[in-house]
Subunit: 362 residues, 2 copies
DNA sequence: TTGTATGCGTTATCAG
DNA sequence: CTGATAACGCATACAA
């Protein structure tokens, strides 16, 4: 079995110089005659350029790095899909590092990537305070970097994010339109920027509609994950409901909340409407399905990756890409009329809840 | 700003030949004196070898390919974590291709990876019949390849899988020990090998315990995903329960089933015990938590990747790695005593199910 | 133990 | 339009 053909093999066979072949391959000038000959020879030889050699010559690595808190976070999984797509199109490979397991050595590894230029660029997803060192190193080494949905505002780096403020307003408008007046807001981790911005938008929304904003209706989970939502629900549901609707800072929280609420026999949305943010796939299979203000997660991944390559190509100016979020009205939210409050809603019957069933089977 | 230092820079500065530096870097022979000098020089220069050049010299690409049906499959996400870990340790990058979106061009892209040797090796996860062309091409090109949990038996390729038969038996034993005698088995997609093997083991388990195996208790969903489980539950639960326990071919099915069952007011595990397979993380947060025979998913990813590198290093003989699955007893299954059948179990009370709560809060 | 020379497969420069 | 030839950065026989 012969070794793989190289550009030299092709050149010899065609009776031309390697440089000619190279030019032909890269779409530069070559006479029609040579072009035709090379085409057939390459085909019959089954020649394919060596990506490694080509990268060496170009002075690039053909590889980018992706850093994330946890590669198992459902939100990241969606974003990652977008990155994958873009990478596939650009014929670039990837190094992935999630900081959550064996976290001790992880940041050091990424620093190596950066300092040793093992990657052409870096995407940092949902970067937290703990990732600042990485970003600083990247900036210092002039390594093209873009952050996706960063959890703190950084002045010196590319950003792809969503309009969380507008999303908060969307949630408020939606619930007010449904007739709700007592609406609670449940924050996630205190530092989480998205949670803060969504609350900000929520307040703005209420203000514009001239609905009273009651700070006592703002609750706070310590973290932003599903379990935190469940934990919150357990204490929240101990006392009688003061709200007719609850906006939770993200879908994970909302899903965790709903699981417990359902078990406690709270009728959703009959007694309590629930709205989340993000648009996780789980929200479409939960019961009831979760109303949410969704982020275009895959698109965010694509945008981040696309932007990264622009920056790699020519040092592009700092820029923030802001994508819109959109309401996804589903079963966890419903109308509220003052009338219902006089005929107090019974606990949801155990079987045969028609509304719910219809929604589920839809 | 100077260009990055190369091995030549180091050599000049140290007054030695590049080959000496190279040897030092690769842990070959060098006098203590030179060693010390190089060490300090490299440190103060901040020199790091070019991975691209090194790869070119080695004739490798420093990159492997991973192909999967859907990169959003929760099971894959776990396996992928293991791959990520191993890759991190081996300083290798990755090309990922999930066949589910824009699937038209996808197989062609992977074929390019294979034919053009853009990757040093290939991992195909849960390979299906549609991936046969890829495997064939890989074998033909002598590209090191390992499949993880393949859905059909292929003679010519490395395999990392679990002992599904034993797992089926484990499930049977567990439920029989709990006192169950009417146990149903719910299969997934008809072609799914794991589903078949688990059923086989299940039957063996019953036989060894001299429990009657009733073919009428074997049901079949068309597919293997969560939605299929829900759909099955809707028809299954229309008629009165004939079983005291149900083994579903995987966790996705089981979770889908439980969602509907719970909504129908079926007491799990009071009226019906549920057991799944795989050990998805969702099973730990579902309500009740799902009893399952778990696969060491992350370990499978690690093993596959580790094995792949062995094959890359020296063409290792064909081998099948079989990992053990382990029972994870949780809240969805419970004991069944004949006595209960005479005092018919009431529907699970709506609030205050202590057993479940304890498990959840654990 | 160290230095010399060559190869890895491309691209780019610069004559022709 | 085409052909030598020098990078690209490193590894390794082979010779010293």
């Amino acid at each position: 079995m012969r070794a793989r053909p190289t550009i030299v093999t092709v050149a010899k066979r065609a009776g031309v110089a390697v440089s000619t072949v190279s030019r032909y391959l890269n779409g530069h000038y070559a006479s029609p005659a040579v072009k035709a000959r090379l085409a057939t020879i390459i085909k019959e030889l089954g020649y394919a350029p060596s990506w490694t050699a080509r990268n060496l010559s170009f002075g690039r690595r053909g590889c980018i790095g992706v850093v994330v808190g946890s590669s198992r976070d459902p939100w990241f999984v969606e974003v990652f899909t977008g990155i994958e797509q873009e990478l596939l199109a650009r014929d670039t490979s990837l190094r992935l590092c999630s900081l959550d397991l064996r976290s001790a050595r992880k940041p050091a590894i990424v620093l190596e990537w950066i300092r040793d230029r093992r990657i052409d660029g870096l995407i940092v997803v949902k970067s937290q305070r703990s990732e600042r060192a990485l970003l600083r190193a990247a900036v210092k080494e002039k390594l093209p970097t873009v952050t996706v949905a960063p959890q703190e505002i950084l002045p010196m780096v590319q950003v792809v994010r969503c309009n969380d403020v507008a999303a908060g307003e969307t949630a408020a408008n939606y619930l007010v339109d449904l007739g709700h007046r007592q609406i609670g807001f449940v924050r996630g981790a205190p530092q989480a920027t998205d949670s803060q911005l969504r609350l900000k938008g929520f307040r703005q929304g209420l203000a514009k509609r001239r609905i009273c904003y009651d700070p006592r209706r703002v609750y706070c989970c310590g973290r932003s994950d599903e379990e935190a939502g469940s934990t919150f629900a357990k204490t929240f549901l101990k006392s009688p409901l003061q709200e007719t609707a609850l906006v939770l800072a993200n879908d994970a929280l909302a899903l965790g909340f709903m699981t417990v609420a359902r078990d406690r026999g709270i009728g959703i949305p009959q007694e309590l409407s629930i709205v989340g943010f993000d648009g996780l796939p789980q929200g479409a299979t939960s019961f009831p399905q979760l109303t949410t203000v969704a982020q275009p997660m895959r698109e965010m991944g694509r945008a981040a990756c696309g932007r990264l390559f622009e920056v790699i190509a020519e040092l592009a100016p700092l820029e923030t890409i802001e994508l819109p979020m959109g309401l996804l009205p589903r079963g966890s939210s419903g109308p509220w009329s003052a009338m219902d409050r006089h005929w107090p809603t019974p606990r949801r019957p155990f079987r045969g809840n028609n509304l719910s069933l219809v929604l589920r089977e839809h």
